[in-house]
Symmetry: C2
Subunit: 350 residues, 2 copies
């Protein structure tokens, strides 16, 4: 088991393997790259030599000559939130099984300058494509300016503007949640939204508003949150003071959690007096007090689909006519969300 090796300072190179196997370095290269036209016997000799020396090809040399880095970049802005960290994970898994390395660039701020820096950084590394865990509309717009320089896809929201991508149908999810609440008998539904300019937040709000409008319900002003439990709590305090509130749709689970807390503090019972519905289905949702009705997103699938799209672009036979990616295949993979019913929602009392 212990790798027996002379441990001469220098690492073995292809020529060493070739010498040991009694072939030319080119034959070693052929074996390494699974080229045809190598005799079985020869191939095995080479493989044995590789094992014996614990040889590993030098990626720098390889990519210098092939002009391919086998690396994809991921730009992430809130890799600390539940959704983004899930997506990052599934992207990495998918990339690995496709034979790519993953290099990450996570940004603290979403200003144009940071975006540019991240793209530059990844380009310096010669990534072959970039997956963006997208969030704000303006950020995606900034990113889109670089789309000519390197293949790029967005992972997350359905409509990332200028970028192709894989996304959850936020609007459909929101609609399902709101329709469900109205069907239970609520006269209208309040909304705690995500931060302005966020794609997911906007789509969810649009879905909410759309259903209310379509059904001729009163559209109460939504309360603006920032995804955090704290902001949900603050919104919840305001909602709790309003006796007419019987149903609240929150743009994510963490805010819903804060709303639940605020309602509890104010003595308003959930679901008897107020129904609360979230979005995401974080693993804790089922264990909140009360367990949270929510809209589930399949983040893992999102990551996989997004990466598929990216690889299509990366491996596409380089642009037939001119600059690729311009208008051509502006595709999107849309993943359907699922409403998960739990105890935080029910019929209104009256």
């Amino acid at each position: 088991m212990p790798t027996a090796k002379p441990a001469t300072g220098a690492l073995p190179v292809m020529a060493d393997v070739a010498r040991l196997a009694g072939v030319s370095h080119q034959t070693v290269s052929r074996v390494l790259n699974d080229r045809p036209n190598v005799r079985r016997e020869t191939r095995e000799k080479v493989l044995a030599a590789i094992r014996e020396l614990d040889y590993r090809p030098n990626t720098a040399a390889r990519s210098l000559v092939t002009r391919r880095s086998q690396t994809l970049g991921v730009i992430s802005f809130d890799s600390t939130l539940y959704g983004p960290s899930q997506m990052l994970y599934s992207i990495e898994q998918a990339a690995r099984s496709a034979g790519y390395f993953i290099s990450i660039a996570s940004l603290r701020y979403q200003d144009v300058r940071s975006v540019r820096e991240a793209v530059d950084r990844l380009r310096d590394q010669a990534v072959e494509g970039i997956a963006v865990i997208a969030s704000k509309a303006s950020t995606v717009a900034a990113l889109a300016q670089h789309v000519g320089t390197v293949p790029m896809v967005a992972v997350g929201p359905t409509d990332p503007g200028a970028l192709s991508g894989a996304g959850v149908d936020n609007q459909a999810g929101a609609e399902a949640a709101v329709r469900y609440l109205l069907d239970l008998g609520h006269r209208t539904v309040h909304h705690v939204s995500g931060p302005a300019d966020w794609l997911d937040a906007n789509a969810r709000e649009a879905g909410w508003r759309g259903v209310l409008t379509d059904q001729g319900r009163e559209v109460v002003p939504s309360l603006r949150g920032d995804w955090s439990a704290r902001s949900g709590y603050e919104a919840g305090q305001r909602l709790a003071r309003d006796e007419s509130v019987t149903a609240v749709f929150c743009a994510n689970d963490h805010m819903a959690l804060g709303v639940l807390r605020a309602l509890h503090e104010a003595g308003r019972r959930v679901p008897e007096e107020v129904s609360v519905v979230g979005f995401d289905d974080i693993p804790e949702a089922a264990y909140l007090t009360p367990p949270l009705t929510t809209v589930r997103q399949d983040f893992a699938q999102l990551g996989r689909r997004g990466l598929e799209l990216l690889l299509q672009r990366v491996e596409a036979p380089a642009a037939p006519g001119g600059r690729e990616a311009s208008g051509a295949g502006h595709r999107a993979a849309i993943v359907a969300p699922e409403l998960v019913l739990r105890a935080s929602s029910g019929r209104p009392r009256s």
Copy 2:
């Protein structure tokens, strides 16, 4: 603002810059690498040419000759959990500001084979060092076998066995929590632990057990969880049935959340009848019902300190005597946790 460039298929190389600036390629290289002994005027001519061509150095060529990849690897096992994703983020930030790229390898399973694959994968990429977001003792042991081949540090638990690293003092945190509960007047404290073999879980359990033993309290058997809210919920159901339980220390916040849920369902009031304390201080902790007393970990600092240690190893003047890293500088940076008091804990009734 728009990058005016001829967009001839081929990217500019150093020779192009040299020609445009009227110098030799070597001078361009000197400018790029901030070498001294370049006249100001010359340097500026070169920089202008670089800007004009939007030239960017080819990293593959550079690392072929320098034998440095400027890349660090991160191995993560549960990049989806709160703590690990935080640490990943802070490691990335720190690496960037030190001028390194980050390549990640996140594993689904922690068996020896997966570990070996991850290390191989990163070595294939010629990373200069590896930061491990450590979790299980056996995994760290498996990793430690590779420590001779590439600098490696653990980020997370205090005592990662054979690896150096930066960690939170789990034991001290647990001790503080348990002592606090005992000081409130509880006769003993129950424990919902993390999964067996996990370093953090073991240290926290040891801290809990130590204080009870020291103070001559009854050491009740701990309940084994798996970090998830679900497992906390199941443990909570059992604890709720036991009337003698007045205080519970949970090895993380998500399990504490499950415990809270179970106690609530069973009609046992928190903190009046039972006090609950968690570990981590997730952002939601303050908004649970009731707000959770917990032990805060500074994950950001952990990541930073861990990376510092790694860079020390990476940039150390390559091994004076023989194989480095063996016994030499087995250092660890220990970060102190902090007990955060909230409403889920209080004096027992009697």
